[in-house]
Amino acid sequence: MWWKYLIFLAMSVIIWFSFTTPAPQQQIGEASRIFYYHIPQAWICVMAFTMSAYYSIKYLKKRNAIDDDCAADASRLGLLFCFLATLTGAIFAKVTWGAFWNWDPRQTSIFILLLIYGAYFALRGAIEDSERRAGLSSVYAILAFVTVPFLVFVLPRMVPSLHPSDSVINKDLKFTMGPQVRTIFFSSLTVFTVMFFWIFNILKKTNILRRKIEAGTI
């Protein structure tokens, strides 16, 4: 319990420093601060998707309803973070390169991820029987997950990047990340991850409770 207050402190400190220390990337200027938030969001989005695929596989093997619940919840959170990542990315793109969207390979990937999440929930919404819903959406989650390596690793190599965009900047941030920037960035990454699991756990407990109530073990 106490650790939650620590997280509160940590995140507050991170937010404070993210805006008061010099901008991480001098060439881009103040807008580069968004990286402290944008990259962790994107990372969590992919992690959530992986968890969803994991729980989907678990469900197909053991057919425990709670696994499907976890897969769906991981996807819900993933969708939220995906949306946030797309938003912060587009804002950054507008400020830096003048356009909200340019089909840069990473933008394309996050867009496809958004579509996958959307499709997953469209599928769930279209099936009434809960067991069938769980089974079919699990299959889809796994199938969609299989395409992710293509998106993350192969696409950026294939599609010409119109801008001196993400890869250059990422490299810059990594190599020229001063100790201060590095601290803030990795702290942000850690805190975001902890936040994800905290919320995920809340959702999981809610599901367990709901199933208990439904099963009548009141």
Partner: protein, 37 residues
């Protein structure tokens, strides 16, 4: 510095709000778990 200040305050406000919301959820869940166990 001004734009940063606005962003800083907004982000902090969102964070505080989110944190309080989550803590309340946590409390509710704890109560429910006690009730049903």
């Amino acid at each position: 510095m001004n734009g940063n200040y606005v962003a800083l305050v907004t982000t902090l406000a969102i964070w505080v709000g989110l944190f309080i919301f989550l803590m309340r959820l946590d409390k509710r869940i704890k109560e429910l778990e006690k009730k049903f166990k």
